[in-house]
Symmetry: C2
Subunit: 407 residues, 2 copies
């Protein structure tokens, strides 16, 4: 990792004091919305961080950052990490400093947050259909390289009109469904017909294909993941050949996530990889198995929710201060870092019930624990700040600038 | 409903423009955190509201507001609605205008947001154990009537010390576990011993008992809910009698939620009711059955996520722009309002997959839908704004001031 990338931006300009024992918790925006101050100060010991707090262990984070950059560099493909996982300008900048061509976003407002923060190249890996949202995206393309996906012929004129109004040419990928059963035109001939419309539209630039196999990412068996990406690759290859036969440009074939990117990397047809969760590694991805049937260990858990035991009512039960408003539970319960024998068994809105009956020692009232989220992306979206920690000390405070940017 | 309460505060002082077709999406705080502007303007038609957006149908909301106030007034008990459901100062003010004695909060930072917004009486229905958090709460008690719960003897001196440092006397409820199997001291003698410690502490005022049966709230059968609250009531009554026998004050016995409050109201032992979700009615509570085995209809769905169909890839599938970052899924899938034959079958981070194969007409690209959240509290916590709508027009924009206030 080069020296520039190691210089994590510290939050030196922050003028409000944090919540610990002081009066000022939050700033009021002109609109009256209370924005919580960060739960820590730079230099503070980890155990003094207010809870619940989203924390990044910077050593594991840097390992992940460098490993993905190295992996993709060796493959000769482009890396465009997904910003929907972190929604954080500092992380996006570090990814670009490590060679990423830019970042992906899933929504126009999220793309806007990244562009406003200085990220020069953002691809919206998603469809946008509302005219006012298309105008917003087209306006962004005056400041940065901006692209998006299309899967429906009726949207092409709206898109071209918005680009024309903004006086720019917008990059467009035709999204095809390669097994994710979500958005996307059918591969092959239907995708070609849509691409021809894009190529003919006056203010659009046809760049190629978006072909993300989202459902393969969390398939546990390596052989099953490989089979899913082999099927996707066949569909992509057939579509690319049809593009070429019709003289349609197909400079970019984009896809791949943390669970499968090594497979797209060797497919011979993908050109750009879009992993997001690798930077954090959540409990869901940690259950994926590698080729030998063991849990894959290439990436380390770097993201945690730091929480405190605030009740020990007995019966083998300890209760932490982080529940449904501090984690997303769609991929199951959080794991207790360093204490695998303690189980997070049940959340309520502001509580987490831990079972410590199999632990050699009981959890103590006031004890603080690092919990590994089941699913990183929607968990990060709950927090205004992430606290960067190294060797038990707070090193940096990063705002989650695109938190709640879902429009 | 009186006239004062009908005057919803409109957001007139908001100086930023909203996202629709304009450059300014957000304001930057001194800390660099981007705060999204509201997704609507006052006076706008509902169909022009940007998506996804959290909306309140004000007629249903006012029905719920008035009905709970009337119900509790008739019972002769006090009403203290739970602010954790809405985290919104305007809603808290309307609840107080309808006779509530104040609001409940679940966290100190949430209580702080309400007190800063002018709510004069806030009870934290939860344990707080970190000394700096106790200092923050004690400081609040200089501005407002503030109370909290305790379930462990070791916290009593910390609490009293914080109150003494702030120069105030803090109201304390002893929390007992009446079947929720979460926080709480055992009822009866153990609760009495803890209460004696509180009563003897120099800067604390023993107010009584917190006895919330959280697990009974979503029990579908009325008879089962009644049985659960009957058991809870027995435990409370026994504990109250022991308090009296020992000369301990027990002015307040608090509990009850949207699913059971009518039962606590007639128990003869509870004095203060704490329902939260009634103001919104989510899909989870809507499945509770009344005494005749039918779905209870006393409260109306007033809270929705407004969303847009942004892909119709065929196969009976339509995809909306609201997924795991726009709803909490812990209580199941959202329901499609006014279109019960359309099913929300599966979320991903930013998408919702709808099955319209049983609908008489297919969903159209760009169509907007009102979706009823499975669980209101953690869904509200995802949004910076809620849009108040009446007769298809935007009437008010309310900031969710305590969004993310989990510390």
């Amino acid at each position: 990792m080069d020296q520039a990338a190691r210089q994590h931006p510290r939050l030196t300009q922050f003028s409000l004091r944090h919540a610990r024992g002081k009066d000022i918790l939050a700033s009021m925006t002109p609109a009256g919305r209370t924005v919580a101050g960060p739960p820590a100060d730079v230099g503070m010991a980890l155990e003094d961080v207010d809870t619940p707090a989203l924390i990044i262990e910077l050593e594991a984070f840097e390992h992940n950052l460098a490993r993905m950059a190295d992996d993709v560099r060796r493959s000769g493909l482009s890396l465009r990490p997904h910003g929907k996982a972190h929604k954080c300008a500092e992380i996006a900048r570090l990814q670009v400093a490590h060679g990423a061509v830019g970042v992906c976003s899933q929504k126009g407002s999220e793309a806007q947050a990244f562009v406003n923060a200085g990220i020069a190249n953002v691809l919206v890996t998603n469809e946008i259909v509302a005219p006012h949202k298309l105008d917003r995206l087209a306006a962004l393309a005056r400041q940065a390289v901006v692209g998006l996906c299309v899967d429906d012929a009726s949207v092409v004129p709206l898109l071209s009109t918005a680009a024309g109004r903004a006086g720019i040419t917008l990059d467009v990928l035709v999204e095809i469904d390669v097994g994710a059963a979500r958005c996307g035109q059918l591969p092959g001939e239907p995708a070609v017909r849509l691409a021809e419309l894009v190529a003919r539209a006056p203010h659009l630039r046809l760049k190629g294909l978006q072909a993300y196999q989202g459902r393969a990412q969390h398939v546990r068996s390596f052989d099953d993941r490989r089979a899913a990406i082999a099927r996707a690759t066949e569909l992509v290859r057939d579509t690319v050949e049809k593009f070429r036969a019709r003289g349609l440009p197909c400079e970019v074939v984009a896809g791949g996530g943390t669970g499968t990117y090594t497979l797209e990397a060797t497919s011979g047809v993908y050109t750009e990889l879009q992993p997001g969760s690798y930077i954090f590694m959540d409990a869901a991805y940690a259950q994926n198995l590698d080729e030998s049937g063991k849990r894959a260990t290439g990436y380390r858990h770097s993201l945690f929710v730091y929480s405190q035991v605030m009740s020990v009512p007995g019966r083998g039960l300890a209760i932490v201060d982080a529940g449904l408003k501090s984690f997303s539970f769609d991929e199951g319960m959080p794991w207790v870092a360093d204490r695998p024998e303690v189980l997070y068994t049940r959340p309520s809105d502001e509580h987490g019930l831990l079972d410590d009956t199999k632990a050699s020692s009981r959890l103590r009232l006031g004890e603080k624990l690092k919990l590994i989220p089941g699913h990183c992306d929607p968990t990060v979206n709950l927090y205004d700040w992430v606290v960067g920690v190294r060797n038990g000390r707070v090193e940096c405070l990063w705002p989650i600038i695109a938190r709640g940017a879902t429009t």
